[in-house]
Every structure is written in structure tokens, then in C-alpha cells.
């Protein structure tokens, strides 16, 4: 069996007075794509933010490479090898594509620049808009920039939040191709509402409902489980 890279156990998160996460558990195994599924407002985004330390956990453990990273500041978590592509993409609107990449690059040595070339080959569109302001990119281009930025270092783990949101089918196809390529060298936790996409690239799934894990297993089992899909995803 493949090694567990990330193990989230009984995660609780409060935002202000709201108890948003109330027991999220799942694990991501090395080299796999783990998909978090659940309806709108279930707590998928908050789960990723909590892993990144952006909305700190109030209870539970987040084991990354067997170390609890729950109390670490966000930048330490990022530097330990976790890349994050947020739901809103988090593009720096007044910075160009090039500058957006530069902010993400910890060094500008030959190795990093070569890595950047490799990442840009995954998203050729970005080269065309290299000097364009991030705020002026299309939704698909922003998504690609956000993924390229998170992948410009050899992350051990990538957290990607709804990359297909609001994109045209042809652009979704490009994003999926890129994720498939990224998967070859990293582990991915993907939040994805588009079940077609999720089922094609996901290895395992975790169903989150009302801030807690309700089901988990292999993606191929979920594809056949009409009842689960109807109950928690409203499909089928």
C-alpha cells in the first residue's frame, strides 16, 4: 500500500463564533489524487484553508509526513512542501503574470528558472500573456496561473480548490490535462464539484457534509454508488 502523506484527523475549525468544521478526517496517499466532495457550504474550502493554517484548527491533528503541522504558521506550512491553489485563485491583480510567478519563487537560480520553464510548458497560454496584469486575465488563465504559481517548486502536496469552477468545457479539459501531468510527480488533494471531472482524475474520495466527514473510499466504488451520490451530491 502507498504511504500516507497527509493524515487529517477529527479536524475542528471555528471562524469567529461559528463552528464550521466539526470532525473532518481524511488521508492523502502518496502519488494519488484525493477528492473532497460535498455540497455547497459543506466545509471543503475551510478544510483546505485549515490545512494551510489560514483558518487555524481548534481541535484535531493534521499530520504531514508524520509531523503535526496544525500550529505552524502558514508560510512554514507552505515551505515544508505544500502548494495551494485557492478557490478564488488569489491572483495578484496589479502584478503581471511574470511578477505573480516571481512572488512565488523562493530563489531565482538556474534550477528554479528551469522548473518555471517546465511548469509554463504545462500552461502555454501563460507565456502569451507574460506581461499582462493578473487582473486582466480570463477565468481560465487565472486558474492556470494559480496552478503554475503553486507548482513552481516541487511541492510534495498540492491543494487545489475547485479548479473547474466557472470555466468552459474546453478550458476544463486543459486544466484536467495539467492536473494529470502534475499528478505524475506530486500528491494532490482536490476539491471538485464537477463529478465527471472528479471521477476521472480522482483515486479516492471523501464526502464532507455539514463540516464533517461522512464517507470515504475508492473513487471507483463511489461511481457505482447511486445512493451516496444522490444523498450527498444531489446527482444520479
Amino acid at each position: 500500500m502507498m504511504k500516507t502523506l497527509l493524515k487529517v484527523e477529527e479536524l475542528h475549525t471555528h471562524i469567529g463564533q461559528y463552528h464550521i468544521l466539526q470532525g473532518v478526517s481524511f488521508e492523502a496517499r502518496e502519488g494519488e489524487v484525493s477528492v473532497l466532495l460535498g455540497r455547497n457550504g459543506a466545509g471543503k474550502t475551510t478544510t483546505l484553508k485549515t490545512i494551510m493554517g489560514l483558518t487555524p484548527a481548534s481541535k484535531g491533528t493534521i499530520l504531514f509526513e508524520d509531523e503535526d503541522i496544525k500550529k505552524r504558521p502558514t508560510y512554514v506550512i507552505a515551505n515544508s512542501g505544500i502548494g495551494y491553489v485557492p478557490e478564488d485563485q488569489g491572483i495578484f491583480a496589479d502584478l503581471t503574470v511574470e511578477e505573480n510567478m516571481k512572488v512565488a519563487m523562493r530563489k531565482e537560480d538556474d534550477a528554479t528558472l528551469a522548473r518555471q520553464e517546465y511548469v509554463l510548458d504545462l500552461f502555454p497560454d501563460l507565456k502569451t500573456f507574460w506581461k499582462k496584469d493578473g487582473g486582466h486575465l480570463s477565468g481560465g488563465q487565472k486558474q492556470m496561473l494559480a496552478m503554475a504559481r503553486a507548482f513552481v517548486h516541487e511541492s510534495k502536496l498540492l491543494l487545489i480548490d475547485e479548479p473547474s469552477k466557472g470555466l468552459a468545457p474546453i478550458v476544463i479539459e486543459k486544466v484536467m490535462e495539467a492536473i494529470t501531468e502534475m499528478k505524475k510527480s506530486t500528491t494532490i488533494v482536490l476539491v471538485e464539484q464537477n463529478f465527471f471531472m472528479a471521477s476521472r482524475i480522482g483515486d479516492r474520495y471523501t464526502l464532507i457534509d455539514d463540516g464533517a466527514t461522512v464517507h470515504a473510499g475508492a473513487m471507483k466504488d463511489l461511481i457505482q454508488n447511486e445512493e451516496l451520490k444522490r444523498k450527498y451530491l444531489g446527482i444520479g
Partner: protein
């Protein structure tokens, strides 16, 4: 004509001093949403320490360097001791920085005494230039020159260096900057120290301009600087220059033509901006 030119030079010089305060304030606010009401205290400390270094060494240039250094050190202490414990809480920030402003002011009196201190223009910057029949005071031109120089240097750094990019990115989205592996608190400490150094530079430049320095000198400038931050757009460095010049000029013209309104005019400018363009006059985006 001579009058108009001199009012303009005057307004520009005042504008530059306000800019030196406001540019730091705007980045401090833009980056970490920190309201620093102690900024005027750093201005006064810059004036006192600068005049002191100047009298000690006989060199105005060393006086300026001494002020900048003092500002940076005070900035370091302020950020570590005063600001760090109150991140994210505006009410506490206002209270504690206002309190610290008073402490800074009283400390000045402890160190240098309660009385006003005279400050002289260095000989090589004293006197006026004659342009035809227009006399222009050299020192004011010097302030304007330094103001533009500082603007140029920092604009270059913000646009062209990695740390500058990180600061601009942080103003736009500080969560994302951290998620990309950057220790934003450290960046903020640097920005805070730089802002404090610029405020101190403003103070030491203001000293010979006004001729005397006194412990409370920072209050009025700090208020003008806050107005400038609002007009220029919180977090906008170039906006703070334009707004500072606007406020400086408006103050200078009004003081001559409609003296009764000279204090109110900047408040009115700010109110108008808040009503019609709350994101600031010079920011392209909200």
C-alpha cells in the same frame, strides 16, 4: 506671480513632508491593516535626534542619517513591542498607538527638555535663489528635491525588486502571499521600520523649515498624513505622493487666500473623497 510661485513652492515642500509620513502609513495600513497613530511621534523623534546629531557633528547630512537611523530603531521597537500584540484588532491598535504617541512625546521632553529648540538651516542650504525677480528659498527646493528622490527610490524598489513585489502583493492579498511561503510578519517589520525611518526623515527636514522643534510637533502632521492616506487610497504608495501634494498645495493657497478655511479645507477634501471615491482618488481598483 511671485506670490503664486512661492505659495506653490511652499505647498509642494509641505506636501513632501506630509508625503514622507503618509507613504509609510499607507503601506503599514495596506499590508497589515494596522492603524498607527504613533507615527507622528516618530516624526518628532526624527526632528529632535536629527537636530541633536547635527549639533554634535556639525554636519546636517549626518544629522539626517542619525534621524533615519533613530527612526528605524524606534520603528523596530514599536513594531515588536506595541504592534505585534494587537494585530487584527483596530480598537486596541488605536488605543495603544495613541498611548504610545503620548509616551514618545513625553520621552522627548525627558531627554531634551520641555522647551522648544531652535533648528538652523545649514549654511549651504540657506538663502534664496533669484529667478529674474522671483526669490525662491533654497531650503524649500531642497525638501522638494529630497521628496521626489525618496519617491523615485521607493517606486523603483516597489516595482523592480523582489521585496517590493512581495509588499505590493501583500497589500493586494496577504493570505496568498503567506500561502506562497513568505513570512509576511517579517516583511511587515521591514516595512514598518522603513515607514518609521521616512517619518523621522520628514521630521529632521521639517526642523530647519520651521526654525523650532517642540515635542508635540508630530500631531498636526500626523493628522494631515492620515487625511492623505485616505485621499490617496490606503496602501497606494504613488497615491500618497499625489494626495500629499494636493493637500500641501491646498493648505498653502488657502492659508493665503481664505485663511479661515485653511484648516478645514483638508478635512473637506477628505470628506468629499470618502463620499464619492471611498477607495481613494488615485487607486485604479478598490
Amino acid at each position: 506671480m511671485e506670490l503664486l510661485i512661492n505659495l506653490t513652492i511652499n505647498g509642494l515642500a509641505t506636501g513632501m513632508l506630509i508625503f514622507l509620513l503618509a507613504s509609510g502609513l499607507t503601506l503599514i495600513f495596506g499590508l497589515m491593516s494596522v492603524l498607527n497613530f504613533a507615527h507622528g511621534g516618530l516624526f518628532a523623534w526624527g526632528a529632535y535626534s536629527g537636530v541633536w546629531f547635527y549639533s554634535l557633528t556639525g554636519s546636517f547630512f549626518l544629522g539626517i542619517l542619525g534621524a533615519i537611523l533613530t527612526g528605524a530603531i524606534l520603528g523596530f521597537i514599536t513594531e515588536k513591542l506595541i504592534i505585534t500584540p494587537v494585530y487584527g484588532n483596530h480598537v486596541q491598535q488605536i488605543l495603544i498607538t495613541l498611548g504610545f504617541m503620548l509616551v514618545l512625546t513625553e520621552m522627548l521632553k525627558v531627554v531634551w527638555g520641555p522647551n522648544q529648540i531652535a533648528a538652523k538651516v545649514p549654511p549651504y542650504l540657506a538663502g534664496s535663489y533669484e529667478f529674474g525677480d522671483v526669490l525662491i528659498i533654497k531650503y524649500r527646493l531642497f525638501i522638494i528635491f529630497v521628496g521626489f528622490l525618496i519617491f523615485g527610490i521607493f517606486q523603483y524598489m516597489l516595482q523592480k525588486t523582489k521585496i517590493g513585489l512581495v509588499v505590493r502583493a501583500g497589500v493586494m492579498n496577504k493570505e496568498m502571499v503567506q500561502a506562497l511561503g513568505i513570512n509576511i510578519k517579517r516583511v511587515f517589520l521591514y516595512v514598518f521600520m522603513t515607514g518609521a525611518a521616512l517619518a523621522a526623515l520628514g521630521g529632521v527636514l521639517f526642523a530647519p523649515y520651521s526654525g523650532v522643534i517642540y515635542a508635540e510637533m508630530g500631531f498636526e502632521f500626523a493628522i494631515l498624513a492620515f487625511i492623505v492616506v485616505v485621499i490617496g487610497g490606503m496602501g497606494s504608495f504613488s497615491g500618497s505622493l499625489s494626495a500629499a501634494i494636493l493637500v500641501g498645495l491646498a493648505g498653502s493657497y488657502m492659508a493665503y487666500y481664505v485663511p479661515a478655511l485653511s484648516l478645514a479645507v483638508n478635512m473637506m477634501l477628505m470628506a468629499i473623497v470618502l463620499i464619492f471615491r471611498p477607495q481613494g482618488l488615485f487607486t485604479a481598483k478598490g
